[in-house]
């Protein structure tokens, strides 16, 4: 009992600190959204990667970066309808 309690508390703390972490009730949508956000953040965070993509797509790096940042809002579209 005590251990379970501690585990939940630890998980809550972890989730408060790292948005991308999940738990048994995480939906696929949430996970994939985070996955995409992390991916986009990683592109932006590695200038060489961004440059490579800029060359590949023919867009300037700054534009690409903005595009990526904006796409982070809903990277895989709207959340699915809640079904009760």
């Amino acid at each position: 009992m005590a251990d379970k309690l501690r585990a939940t508390q630890q998980l809550e703390q972890l989730q408060a600190r790292y948005v991308g972490t999940g738990h048994a009730d995480t939906t696929k949508y949430e996970w994939i959204s985070n996955l995409h956000r992390d991916t986009l953040a990683s592109y932006i965070g590695h200038p060489q990667m961004l440059e490579y993509m800029a060359v590949g797509t023919g867009e300037p790096m700054a534009k690409l970066r903005t595009k990526f940042v904006e796409r982070m809002i809903q990277p895989v579209g709207k959340p699915p309808e809640k079904e009760d």
């Binding site: 005590a2 972890l14 790292y18 972490t21 738990h23 991916t39 590949g56």
Partner: protein, 1223 residues
């Protein structure tokens, strides 16, 4: 030092040793036993039994008597023989009760726990406070029930009036004036006609209280009240009043025939109120009475608490009354038994003299099972077994045992009982019970509601017999439910404050912190406006205690909600024109804020200072004093910044300091003293010069408080930049030494500390020599405390400034003085030891001429009768050993070594420990090679001492042995080292971690010296022992041996040992490997493939712990071989470990997850995550949970590295197109 001295000392020593009569100790060689053979009749455990020589059977009867058999003839018998034996109880049993059985071994224990027991009178005043009625929530929609702010303020005003009148009367009575013909004007005017009945009640109380000859004071008030009633009655009352005025004493009242005898009873006629001190039942008011207390009718104390007067139970009545021909009637519907308030029942209170609450003579009453059963309910229904249940708990939790039918209760009653049960579990339950109950309370807090919860918790907290633990738990409950209740808590804010505020002035630090936490949470929940409206009426409360605690609580509110939010209110309070108490409290709040928040006040410093600035010139002396103290607190917190904020008050502060006298001056001086260090050089210099005049004058003050303040000011001024050494030397030092370096100052602990501190601070500026020069002669003073004070000052000064400043002549006087003080001490004190050590170390090579003298002092003291003296001198040797080496006194050290060596037979463990410590320090500085006595003699003597159980001895021996093993292992034979190894195994059981660590390290040194084989064999054998700690330490030692002697010398033997079909041994081997691989790190790469088959076997074992330990081995290997090309092996191990992720035991699963994490480091996240993706969205939650745990770990530790390895998602909009770009 002359050799003759040494010989003399040694001779004395030998005499002492030979007196010890221990046959096993041979004084000529100093060895315990010089024969290698063991006598078969000897006892080996010398710590318990003496060795041979002493008659084993001493104390026993060695012969069987022929004629003195006591059993055979009976002195008191009638001479005839009985055929049946007489059996009776033993003497001890019969005498057991004959002794004085008043002594209760638990009494001291139970008393100490109660909080009220250790409180000061001031703190006990908290019991005088009552839980006030519920207040209105100004923010709530329906405004709820309870009293409004206005009503509370009115009541406070009445209280003040009451207090004023009472004081007035006291003054009059004291001055002996007659009260008759003075008409006092009441400050309360007629306009408050609409005052509620409670106000009326208070006024009446005033009358009753003041009883004799005071009615007159209030008659105007009364008359006005009756005026309202109507014309007809007015006349009558007017007349009546006239009559009243004419009579001079109340005796006339009875004389008047027709007047209804409304005799005012003097307060002597009444039983004192029981309720004032207790929280429950403020009769007639809306005050919450604890729900259960009314249900349990109270027995008046006068009846005696004995069982004789206990109410008859139903069973007893059944037994007494005839059964036939009678019917037991049901009580008529609506019947409720009359419950008299306890106050009425109680005519004269029983004197509370004895512990049982009853004074005077009492008949001894036999213990009665019935009563015991009543007192100690073994099991509360619905609660389970509690840790304890106190008599006082019955008052609160009695309802739970009344056996009422829960099916017929209303929801509210059920709720109340539920809360009661949970609280009882929290308060008295076992830890697991507490935990669950606390959780239930927290989770359901909003369903229960604030009212029912607090009405039960708060009276519990006001209980007088509350203990620390209970208070802590209840406070914790409040803390938790505050979070959940949030704004529902508002009506109860004041009640909570009444209970929690006393925590703020508790002696216990943690209680204070707890109190602060609650108040800050409370203010966050209730909001600033509500907090202010709740606490405002208490700011000018008549009781100083209430004002004080309120100020502290306000400071906490300020720190929780921010100073700027509270500042406008504070400003208004500090300028209150109505009462000086309000101003005083306002300033006190400002004083508490910096004490609480420290330098966090800096952004708001100006506001705070300006807020209290005008109060420096208040008309009330108390307000002025507290203002100066507040400024001191602000300046202290702001140091070294913020002088510009104090600009506005510098002038009044300064004039105040010049004008004031006595107690007021102390505060102002303190403030000036704290402000000066903030100033820049020039100003500081100027102000110091100015203030020093006052300070020097006050040096003569007899007031203790003033002494403290001037000392503080002096040390602060001395610390400021602008003050020069020349100035201090010329103006301050002579006065200072004249006033404070006197014997009397050393007698009081607080003065003592202050003087030492100030002297050290002065020395920082004027230099070491100057100060030491002045006080060095006191080292030879006749008063011991004074010598101590001097030496402590000298020690601190020299420790911080060094001895370079000390001239040749002074040096002589100093060493002489220190030696004198050291020798003359009557109680061995650490201060003397520290002082001596510091002085000698600071002087360094300059000590050389004095060393012979010092050493001879030490030697003589080493031979002293008193163990404390011997211990102290041994300790001194360890302190000065380094200096002796610097002075080149190797010969002297050799002699000291020999003397110490001869003292190894010391019987006091504390002293023995110190002697070993001294030996160690000599070995350290002299070096193993030139050590006297030679190591080969010393070490064998240490081996038996290793068996000593005393921690200090163990620690020092192991340290010494370890050092020898490290530096000079070759001096001793391998056999001796092996013997030591065996002794060391026992050390692994030591409680102190330092000892176990030292023992482990020593294993490493010994293994290095004599090769690992033998040591390892010893250690491997030790893996078979039962004790867990011992096995763990052995495993650690094996790891260390492997580290020092290279793993290949150890691993084969270890792996071979794993083949022993015994779980403990195999586990031990794995554990040892775990440590081994942790220690050797990268070296592991050469052994990975060798060890893999063993790990394979271990990881598929049936035993959980086995797999757990194997997993920790894997973890350490994997972390060692990161990037070293062992990926294939790691992958293989991962395959074996991965199925274990469904383990549930916390230790096992933790190790497994750690191992997987470590392997992820070794082979990269991509491969490991391939295992993880499969389970993240598995239909079964039991499967998903551990997989998510793995994912979270990977995500936290290497989120970026995961990006390329996320699985490919099929749906069009989920594809990460950018990754497919190819240039």
């Amino acid at each position: 030092m002359a050799d003759a001295d040494f010989d003399e000392v040694r001779r004395l020593q030998q005499e002492r040793n030979s007196l010890k009569k221990s046959k096993t100790f041979d004084p000529s060689t100093q060895r315990t036993d010089n024969s290698t053979k063991v006598a078969l009749t000897d006892t080996f455990d010398t710590t318990l039994y003496d060795r041979t020589g002493v008659d084993k059977f001493a104390g026993y009867n060695t012969t069987v008597g022929g004629d003195d058999d006591e059993d055979m003839d009976m002195q008191d018998g009638d001479g005839t023989r009985r055929l049946v034996g007489q059996y009776t109880a033993t003497k001890e049993m019969m005498n057991e009760f004959a002794q004085d059985d008043d002594f209760d071994p638990m009494a001291a224990h139970t008393k100490g726990n109660q909080i009220a027991e250790r409180e000061t009178d001031y703190q006990k005043r908290r019991f005088a406070r009552k839980l006030s009625p519920t207040r209105k929530d100004g923010f709530a929609e329906d405004n709820g029930e309870g009293r409004s702010y206005k009503e509370v303020m009115q009541e406070r005003e009445l209280e003040r009036e009451e207090e004023r009148v009472r004081r007035r009367i006291e003054d009059k009575l004291k001055s002996g004036e007659s009260m008759d013909d003075i008409q006092h004007e009441a400050t309360l005017k007629a306009e408050d006609k609409e005052k509620d009945s409670s106000a009326e009640g208070t006024r009446k109380r005033v009358c009753e209280y003041l009883s004799l000859g005071v009615e007159e004071l209030l008659t105007p008030l009364k008359k006005k009240r009756w005026d309202v009633a109507g014309d007809a009655s007015t006349a009558a009352t007017e007349e009546d009043d006239g009559a009243k005025k004419s009579r001079s004493s109340r005796w006339d009242v009875a004389g008047a025939p027709d007047a209804t005898p409304v005799v005012k009873r003097s307060r002597w006629d009444q039983a004192p109120s029981l309720t004032a001190a207790t929280p429950v039942g403020n009769q007639g008011l809306v005050t919450p009475i604890h729900p259960s207390s009314s249900a349990v009718p109270q027995m008046p104390l006068t009846f005696g608490l004995g069982d004789r007067n206990a109410a008859l139970s139903d069973e007893e009545l059944d037994e007494m009354l005839p059964k036939e021909g009678y019917v037991i009637l049901q009580p008529p519907p609506g019947y409720a038994p009359i419950r008299q308030p306890a106050r009425k029942l109680m005519q004269t209170p029983a004197p509370m003299a004895s512990a049982s609450g009853i004074g005077g003579f009492m008949m001894q009453e036999p213990e009665n099972a019935r009563q015991i059963g009543k007192q100690m309910p073994t099991d509360i229904p619905g609660v389970g077994d509690l840790q304890f249940f106190k008599a006082e708990d019955m008052q609160y939790f009695g309802k739970l045992v009344d056996g009422a039918d829960e099916n017929q209760m209303t929801v509210d009653e059920l709720k109340e009982r539920k809360i009661m049960r949970l609280l009882l579990k929290v308060k008295n339950g076992t830890p697991p019970m507490r935990k669950t109950a606390l959780r239930q309370l927290t989770d359901n807090a909003r369903q229960f509601g604030a009212g029912p919860l607090f009405n039960q918790i708060l009276p519990l907290l006001m209980e007088k017999t509350l203990e620390d633990q209970e208070r802590h738990l209840l406070v914790k409950v409040i803390d938790r439910i505050l979070y959940k209740l949030d704004d529902l808590v508002r009506p109860y804010t004041h009640k909570i404050l009444v209970v929690i505020e006393p925590l703020l002035i508790d002696q216990d630090y943690y209680a204070r912190v707890e109190g602060r936490e609650i108040i800050s949470n409370l203010s966050k929940a209730a909001g600033l406006a509500h907090m202010i409206s709740t606490m405002r009426p208490d700011i000018d409360h008549v009781d100083e205690y209430v004002r004080n605690t309120t100020a502290r609580a306000f400071a906490v509110v300020a720190s929780a909600l921010g100073i700027p939010a509270l500042l406008p209110f504070l400003r208004a309070v500090c300028r209150s024109k109505k009462s000086w108490q309000a101003r005083h409290t306002g300033v006190k709040i400002v004083q508490q804020i910096p004490i609480l928040m420290g330098c966090a006040i800096l952004p708001h410093l100006k506001g705070l200072v300006e807020c209290i600035g005008p109060n420096l010139e208040d008309e009330q002396a108390k307000v002025r004093t507290v203002t100066s103290l507040a400024i001191a607190a602000l300046a202290e917190a702001a140091h070294p910044y913020g002088i510009e904020s104090f600009d506005s008050i510098l002038q009044p502060l300064w004039t105040g300091a010049k004008k004031q006298r006595g107690k007021g001056l102390a505060g102002f001086l303190k403030a000036v003293g704290y402000v000066i260090p903030l100033m820049d050089e020039e100003y500081a210099n100027y102000y110091t010069g100015e203030v020093m005049g006052i300070v020097l004058r006050e040096f003569q003050s007899p007031d203790e408080e003033m002494k403290k303040v001037v000392l503080k000011v002096v040390s602060q001024c001395a610390g400021t930049e602008g003050v020069t050494a020349a100035y201090l030397k010329e103006h301050v030092l002579p006065e200072f030494f004249k006033a404070f370096w006197i014997r009397r100052m050393a007698l009081d602990k607080r003065n003592y500390r202050q003087v030492v501190e100030t002297t050290v601070d002065l020395a920082q500026k004027v230099g070491c020599g100057e100060i030491v020069e002045r006080i060095v002669d006191h080292l030879k003073d006749e008063s011991e405390p004074y010598r101590k004070m001097t030496l402590e000052s000298v020690e601190k000064v020299i420790a911080s400034l060094g001895a370079a400043d000390i001239g040749e002549r002074l040096e002589e006087r100093l060493v002489d003085g220190v030696l004198y003080a050291f020798q003359e001490q009557s109680i061995e004190d650490i201060v003397m030891l520290n002082g001596f050590g510091t002085v000698v170390n600071a002087l360094g090579t300059r000590t050389k001429p004095y060393l012979p003298q010092i050493v001879s002092t030490i030697l003589w003291r080493l031979n002293n009768k008193s163990s404390a003296v011997r211990q102290q001198s041994a300790d001194l040797i360890s302190r000065i050993a380094v200096v002796m080496k610097q002075c080149g006194e190797d010969a002297l050290m050799g002699k000291l070594g020999i003397v110490l060596y001869e003292y190894l037979g010391e019987e006091y463990p504390e002293v023995l420990g110190s002697i070993l410590g001294a030996l160690r320090s000599i070995v350290t500085v002299v070096g193993i090679n030139s050590m006297q006595p030679p190591i080969k003699d010393l070490l064998p003597r240490l081996t038996p001492i290793l068996r000593n159980r005393h921690e200090k001895v163990q620690e020092n021996t192991i340290d010494l042995v370890g050092r020898i093993a490290d530096r000079g292992a070759e001096f001793v034979s391998a056999r001796e080292w092996m013997r030591i190894c065996f002794e060391l195994l026992d050390m692994l059981k030591a409680h102190k971690k330092g000892i176990r660590r030292a023992a482990n390290n020593t294993f490493g040194f010994i293994a290095k010296a004599i090769g690992p084989q033998d040591v390892l064999a010893t250690l491997l054998n030790n893996l078979r022992v039962q004790e867990r700690q011992s096995r763990v330490c052995t495993a650690v030692a094996i790891g260390i041996v492997a580290e020092t002697c290279a793993p290949f010398t150890v691993l084969p033997a270890l792996m071979n040992e794993y083949r022993v079909p015994e779980l403990n041994v195999q586990n031990g081997v794995l554990k040892a490997m775990s440590f081994l691989f942790e220690y050797i790190g990268e070296m592991a790469k050469d052994y990975v493939y060798a060890i893999t088959p063993l790990l394979e076997d271990a990881l598929i074992d049936r035993d959980q712990v086995h797999r757990q330990t194997a997993a920790s081995v894997v973890k350490h290997i994997a972390l060692g071989v990161v990037g070293l090309g062992c990926e294939d092996a790691m992958m293989h191990l991962l395959n074996l470990i991965f199925p274990n992720i469904f383990e549930t035991s916390p230790h096992v699963i933790d190790r497994i997850i750690e191992a997987i994490d470590a392997i992820r480091m070794a082979i990269g996240p991509g491969l490991v995550m391939n295992y993880v993706w499969a389970g993240l969205f598995h239909p079964a939650r039991k499967v998903r949970t551990p997989y998510w745990r793995l994912y979270n770990n990977a995500y936290v530790q290497s989120a970026d590295a995961l990006v390329p390895y996320y699985p490919n998602l099929d749906e069009e909009r989920l594809v990460r197109h950018e990754l497919y770009i190819v240039v």
